[in-house]
């Protein structure tokens, strides 16, 4: 007779969440359908922990849910008003740091950065906009890289390396000068191995990397986050610029 093993659990906002060995708080939460705001995390990719949006208070410590291993008895505070307002500030920092022009961005409505901003009830960037001078790479006929919209989450870096097996992208520079660069002789997308259907483009949570072949294919009002907040959509699902069936 098999021994009955009681499932290992953590508590997120008073709710019991089972987890298996090696899972992070984020993975356990996603499995249970509990939403923790995030941008640089995506199921199936190695935890990164750079956007810090998924910061939770776990048994008194402030940790990023995507990198912190779940441990029996961990008490996790997630959906508190204090945390939500600090997460909003993190998103505001991202908006203030880059040049995010939603009104004329093709990704608008399908953009996860925008979606977490909506979900966290952000109305403005609060902090002083930095208006950095960043460059655009429109050299490729089918793929666009707009660094104004990049939030340095390295999802494309990871996807290109781990999924597409190409290594097209990397982060370069330091501090506020950190920027996404392209692996090709010229440094341009047109000379790289990128293709429009690469996972690296699909995983971009913002409009920094876009497939140019089907612009504005979904009408306003029917885009992924137009009506249903990201926190109410199945966790781990990404907004992308592909036409929805």
């Amino acid at each position: 007779m098999p021994q009955k093993i009681s499932p290992r659990k953590i508590k997120i906002d008073q709710q019991d969440i089972p987890f298996s060995e090696g899972q992070s708080i984020m993975e356990a939460a996603e499995q249970a359908g509990v939403y923790i705001p995030h941008l640089c995390h995506k199921a199936g990719y190695k935890a990164h922990g750079s956007c810090r949006l998924c910061t939770v208070k776990a048994s008194g410590r402030w940790v990023s849910a995507c990198t912190e291993p779940a441990e029996v008895g961990l008490q996790v505070e997630n959906n508190s008003s204090e945390l939500q307002s600090q997460r909003r500030a993190i998103v505001q920092l991202l908006f203030a740091e880059g040049n995010h022009h939603c009104p004329f961005c093709e990704k608008s409505g399908n953009c996860q950065l925008q979606a977490v901003a909506y979900s966290l009830d952000m109305h403005d960037a609060h902090f002083a906009h930095q208006f950095p001078h960043r460059t655009l790479d429109a050299s490729h006929p089918e793929v666009l890289l707009d660094r104004d919209r990049c939030i340095q989450c390295e999802l494309c870096v990871r996807a290109s390396k781990e999924h597409d097996k190409k290594n097209v992208f990397a982060l370069s520079g330091r501090g506020p000068h950190t920027q996404l660069i392209v692996n090709s002789e010229s440094g341009k997308l047109k000379d790289s191995e990128i293709e429009k259907d690469d996972e690296a483009i699909k995983v971009c949570p913002t409009g920094a990397l876009m497939n140019r072949s089907k612009p504005f294919s979904v009408p306003i009002g029917q885009r992924q986050f137009d009506n249903i907040p990201i926190d109410q959509q199945s966790t781990g699902k990404s907004g992308n610029n592909e036409a929805q069936p």
């Binding site: 935890a47 990164h48 922990g49 750079s50 956007c51 810090r52 949006l53 910061t55 402030w62 990023s64 990198t67 291993p69 600090q86 500030a89 993190i90 920092l93 991202l94 203030a96 740091e97 609060h126 902090f127 002083a128 930095q130 939030i151 340095q152 290594n167 992208f169 990397a170 982060l171 370069s172 520079g173 330091r174 501090g175 506020p176 000068h177 950190t178 660069i181 392209v182 692996n183 090709s184 002789e185 440094g187």
Partner: protein
């Protein structure tokens, strides 16, 4: 570096023989991609810059993506893709340098060389830039010229430097006196009084055996001297206890905390103790591979360090079958940094050792279980290794009789700022701030900054506090400020430091350090509106709680403490609210253009 190969490389640079240059660099470093950063540092020194075409060649030869090499060049401050100049001068801009009028001297130097800060001179001969503290706060203002440090800058030295540059004198022919630094040890104690001869502690450890050695270290209660204070024996045991093909010992000599310089002095005066500590550690955890990660700013220490390492090998204290013990093989390689404060963080340091950008890793796993190339790795501070070795030496057991309950032994302090006797002071833990100030001969002290910009700002009301892990913990930087100093200027220097040194990995630190500096600059120069204070408090709480590593977390402390203690120094803003930028200044370009256009005035 031998000049012959340098001039050959320069010829190859002129001929754009990229593969020749790349080959030369690769051959010097075992053609290993983990040495990519070391190759670039070598080429930067030899060529003055690393042209994009050369970067591409190196990437091809190492079979790395081009972006990897480009990423390194753009990350490390002392590497450059553009030709900056034959003479590259970096002036230390720590607050202690500024207090010694580094600004005027910098201006003087720029004027005499006819160059603006941060812009290469047209004839590509000279480039002047500022850099974070270079570890000479006891003899500032100071600068680096092509990586070599020059202390005690004054008008006469500036004139001398200018004339040497304008006469195209090769750096190797510059007067040695210019580069001479003093060790300025002001107060010796248990460690600095060391009389153990090289190898003695190691022999002792071998004699009593591994388990008793670890027990001895445990009993000493030695804790890491880098600042965090993790029990050393525990760290070594963890590492030893992680089964792996290899184990690694790393000495963190990336002494970047502004105002600290004790490791510089230890590396010069007690190098044997450091090597010995590393070797004992290697023996106890079973490591064959050892590294010293030496900050770029300490390049002048490299030749002597290499010599000492060779002496150790010659005496069979390093190498194969150390002291005749079959199976005890260990050697140490020196890796240089290239200008990145973040690499003092142990996991960023390991990334850098692996030839990558210095981005702190996620933890767990901790380096003791997965460190350098995923091998279990002990990373300890220079001072920790020296102390560990000393504990095995003569009168080593007196260590734990010093200090406090939870902080045994002594601590080296680097004292600088408003004191007549800057230098190294060794005190037992538990000494009060007041006693330290008194010993340094400082008068009229207003406040001290302990542990660098990331540490604690202590005003007179806190001078009774004690230095120890239980109270004021520190890595050793101790900057003294007297009543004539403007605390706001000092704090602004620190916020600028963090804005410059944030690695850029995580949102709160990458953006927060910039905004923190901008906002603090605004309130300290234009006056502080309550809304600005509120915003600063919000930012600092965010950085403290949400940052990925200690840099972002601690970068928030200085503003928090500064606001708490010096809010009265702030000029109140006109209103409850003030604009984020200077409105009048924002119109100045348009105003100027209009005047030029109308020809009026």
């Amino acid at each position: 570096m031998d000049t012959n190969s340098d001039s050959n490389l320069l010829k190859a640079l002129e001929a754009e023989s990229w593969s020749l240059i790349s080959d030369n660099a690769l051959n010097r470093f075992q053609r290993s991609p983990h040495h990519a950063l070391q190759m670039l540092i070598y080429l930067q020194a030899a060529l003055g810059y690393i042209p994009p075409a050369l970067q591409r060649q190196i990437a091809r030869d190492l079979q790395l993506p081009i972006t990897h090499i480009q990423g390194l060049v753009a990350f490390y401050f002392f590497l450059s893709a553009e030709k900056l100049g034959t003479y590259r001068i970096y002036i230390s801009n720590n607050i202690t340098d500024k207090m010694l009028d580094a600004a005027t001297l910098t201006e003087c130097l720029c004027q005499q060389l006819n160059v603006s800060l941060g812009c290469p001179r047209e004839d590509e001969k000279v480039y002047i830039e500022q850099t974070s503290c270079i570890g000479l706060s006891d003899q500032g203002p100071s600068c680096l010229i092509n990586g070599l440090s020059i202390p005690s800058l004054n008008e006469e030295r500036i004139r001398q430097i200018v004339s040497l540059i304008e006469s195209d004198t090769e750096l190797s022919l510059w007067p040695k006196s210019l580069f001479e630094t003093s060790d300025s040890i002001q107060r010796k104690g248990w460690l600095l009084d060391n009389t153990t001869s090289p190898g003695e502690s190691l022999r002792q450890a071998l004699k009593i055996g591994d388990e008793k050695s670890l027990a001895l270290l445990e009993k000493s209660a030695l804790r890491g001297r880098g600042g965090a204070g993790f029990p050393t024996a525990k760290k070594w045991r963890f590492c030893k206890g992680t089964p792996a093909e290899k184990h690694v010992v790393v000495c963190n000599a990336d002494e970047g905390e502004p105002g600290t310089f004790k490791d510089r002095v230890l590396l010069r005066q007690h190098c044997d103790l450091i090597l010995e500590g590393m070797t004992i550690c290697a023996r106890l955890i079973g490591a064959e591979l050892g590294f010293i990660y030496l900050r770029a700013e300490y390049l002048n220490l490299l030749p002597d360090l290499e010599k000492t390492l060779q002496k150790w090998r010659d005496n069979n204290l390093l190498g194969q079958a150390i002291l005749g013990n079959e199976g005890f093989n260990f050697d140490i390689e020196i890796h240089l940094g290239a200008g990145a404060y973040i690499c003092g963080e142990e996991s960023a340091l390991i990334e850098s050792l692996e030839g990558k950008r210095g981005i702190p890793r996620n933890r767990p796993p901790f380096p003791v279980s997965e460190g350098y190339l995923s091998y279990p790795t002990v990373v300890n501070n220079v001072e920790t290794f020296a102390m560990a070795a000393r504990i095995f030496g003569k009168e080593g057991d007196s260590f734990s009789q010093l200090g406090t309950e939870q902080s045994k032994g002594t601590k080296l302090l680097s004292i600088s700022g408003d004191t007549p006797k800057p230098g190294i002071y060794e005190f037992p833990w538990g000494v009060t701030i007041q006693e330290i100030i008194l010993a340094s001969g400082a008068k009229n002290t207003y406040f001290v900054q302990v542990g660098g910009p990331a540490g604690e700002l202590l005003d007179q009301s806190q001078f009774k506090r004690t230095l120890c892990y239980e109270d004021v913990a520190t890595g050793g930087s101790f900057m003294i400020f007297n009543a004539e100093r403007n605390p706001l200027e000092i704090i602004l220097n620190f916020t600028q430091f963090f804005a410059h040194e944030s690695c850029g990995f995580c949102t709160p630190c990458r953006v927060g350090t910039q905004l923190n500096h901008q906002l603090f600059e605004k309130i300290s120069t234009q006056g502080a509106a309550p809304s600005d204070i509120e915003k600063l408090e919000e930012l600092n709480l965010l950085m403290d709680r949400f940052s990925h590593c200690g840099l972002g977390k601690t970068a928030s402390h200085i503003v928090k403490q500064g606001l708490a203690q010096f809010h009265k120094k702030l000029k109140p803003g006109d209103d409850n609210w003030s604009p984020d930028f200077d409105l009048d200044k924002s119109l100045s370009t348009a105003r100027k253009l209009r005047i030029i256009d109308t020809g009026a005035n």
